[in-house]
């Protein structure tokens, strides 16, 4: 009975092609073994992006015009081009940078998860460049959403500009942008799959290799499961934090925020006092 069901399942076109038990069984552990690669790329790349994004956001709010111009250009270029293109340009472009060959040999001897350090560093650099631009806009929107009275009160007590930023503005910003930052991490984590084009052996490439060998889509479905394993719980946490922030803010009954200067457009990073929403996916369709 069970045998005949499995036989039917695996020969029926849809179930057999996408959810083949035998092939899922074969692919499960090889793909699971590459999960740390995807996760490490996401976590380390995103982590590096936090200080990077903060510095870029300060530069974007700088009083010095050229600094602001350069930062705006950088953010526009990163946010306005597909990440896969950024990977192709930088991953295969970095080896042509003068001096690369000198550091290449020693670094190549260091290997984590069967991937040498030059590959790790190039991939992490690309993720850093990409996510720092997005995080900069999240930080900037968050910082600018703190009422002006906060910095005025701090400055009128004699705190310096940077003390005010560090002890008054940023602690409040972090609370507000946390959900958006987690969403950004989810995006970064998913984008590590694009390193397929650089032949970095993460989950998606491993699955694609098995797919090629078996002429069956099931390994890719297994990979989807491993992505969802991380993204769905995180997504729930994001939703819960947003609700909590909205509740707290409506409970405080503080002064109403001033009206926005213009209605938000697609692609804006929008902050209302409760939560931060990026429309990143909608526009850029990465």
């Amino acid at each position: 009975m069970l045998h005949s069901f499995i036989h039917w399942w695996e020969t029926f076109p849809i179930t057999g092609i996408f959810f083949n038990f035998h092939i899922i069984g074969q692919a499960f552990f090889p793909i699971l073994k590459r999960l740390p690669v995807s996760l490490l790329l996401g976590v380390i790349g995103f982590g590096l992006g936090i200080p990077g994004g903060l510095i870029v956001s300060f530069m974007k709010m700088s009083k010095i015009k050229p600094v602001r111009w350069i930062t705006t250009l950088y953010i526009d270029v990163v946010r306005g081009t597909p990440m896969i293109l950024q990977i192709l340009i930088l991953y295969f472009g970095i080896p042509f940078v003068p001096g690369y060959d000198a550091i290449k040999l020693p670094l190549q001897r260091i290997v984590f998860f069967e991937i040498d350090l030059t590959v790790w560093l190039r991939a992490l650099f690309i993720i850093f460049i990409n996510t720092a631009a997005y995080q900069a806009e999240i930080f900037r929107a968050g910082i600018q959403s703190i009422p002006k009275g906060q910095s005025e009160a701090a400055r009128s007590l004699g705190l310096s500009k940077w003390q005010t930023m560090g002890f008054v503005i940023l602690p409040q910003t972090v609370r507000r942008i946390l959900p958006t930052m987690l969403s950004e991490f989810i995006l970064v984590y998913k984008d590590t799959s694009l390193f397929v084009v650089a032949s970095i052996m993460e989950m998606t490439l491993q699955a694609n290799i098995i797919r090629g060998a078996t002429f069956n889509q099931s390994p890719l479905v297994v990979t989807a499961f491993f992505y969802l394993l991380i993204t769905i719980p995180l997504g729930r946490i994001v939703a819960r934090m947003e609700n909590k922030l909205a509740e707290q803010d409506s409970g405080e009954g503080g002064p109403t925020p001033p009206p926005r200067k213009r209605p938000p457009r697609l692609g804006d990073t929008v902050i209302d006092s409760a939560h931060v929403v990026t429309h990143r996916e909608n526009v850029l369709n990465r």
Binding site: P147, S156, Q248
Partner: protein, 292 residues
């Protein structure tokens, strides 16, 4: 404009007055907010600044601690020219306390944390010392039992008293109040005004932008009436309230009496001390009504 504003630009300012404002002008784009403001505040005095909204009172106050940069004119704090390039802004501000209409407490810090922050970071006191001073200040405003509360857990009146304690902890030489009671429920105004009264009695130099006429009359040594970015009339409270020289001062005061009369009628049942507040404004009301 029926007449030209009365601005005693050449009024002799005693050099020992703690705040001296001369020919202060402030322009935002095309909008001249302050035309020509002149007055001074001797040490230990309370100066009340009255005037309709949009008359530039708040802007004038914010120029004193450089939250706004004056366009021209001179502001002197003790022997220091405030609006000069050499001013150490942070050091200046640590000697000038300011209390805002919207309290502007730091919502991520407790009442104690709010008071401690500048003690730790500006005056660089150690944890114990800062905490002791902060607790003392909270006790002075009657809130020692609220030290560990977050601003969101405080009433408006309590929040504003914490804000006053926060400013006082820095031992400022002068306190600026920017409509400190305007955002409060009428029933909470009294607590804050009481704290301000005590502060005035203790000899603190204060410049108070306010719509509380009874307070201005009872507490101040000098009243400045501003309208349209100029000091329209100034003098002792008796002179401004009982014998205003200018028509517009009279109109403004009459308007404020009407509003205050209405607000008092709505105020909740009196407990002790509230009586006093009531009587003082009722007394003012009688006098005010008589003068027109």
């Amino acid at each position: 404009m029926e007449d030209v504003a009365y601005t005693p630009a050449d009024v002799a300012m005693p050099a020992d007055a703690i705040i001296r404002i001369k020919n202060l002008k402030k322009v935002f784009g095309d909008n001249v907010v302050l035309h020509d403001v002149n007055f001074y505040c001797p040490k230990g005095h309370v100066v009340s600044v009255l005037g309709p909204s949009g008359s530039g009172k708040s802007t004038m106050l914010r120029c004193i601690n450089l939250l706004e940069q004056p366009t021209s004119g001179e502001i002197w704090f003790e022997d220091q020219l405030v609006n000069s390039k050499e001013t150490d802004v942070d050091q200046l501000r640590s000697k000038i306390g300011m209390v805002f209409q919207q309290f502007n407490l730091f919502p991520h810090l407790t009442a104690l944390g709010n008071v401690e922050l500048a003690l730790r970071k500006v005056r660089k006191l150690d944890e114990k010392e800062a905490e002791q001073i902060a607790l003392d200040q909270l006790e002075k405003v009657g809130l020692s039992d609220r030290a560990d509360f977050l601003p969101s857990q405080l009433s408006g009146g309590q929040a504003q008293r914490v804000a006053i304690a926060r400013a006082l902890a820095m031992e400022p030489h002068v306190m600026l109040f920017d409509e400190a009671t305007s955002a409060l429920d009428p029933s909470l105004v009294r607590d804050v005004l009481d704290v301000m009264r005590d502060l005035a009695k203790s000899g603190m130099t204060m410049i108070v932008v306010t719509h509380e006429m009874a307070f201005a009359r009872d507490v101040s040594d000098h009243v400045v009436f501003m309208d349209g970015g100029v000091v329209y009339e100034q003098g002792t409270p008796e002179r401004i309230f009982d014998h205003p020289e200018r028509e517009r001062t009279r109109e403004f005061l009459q308007g404020m009496i009407d509003i205050t009369g209405g607000a008092d009628a709505d105020a909740p049942a009196a407990d002790d001390g509230y009586e006093e507040y009531m009587t003082s404004s009722a007394r003012f009301q009688r006098k005010g009504a008589g003068m027109i």
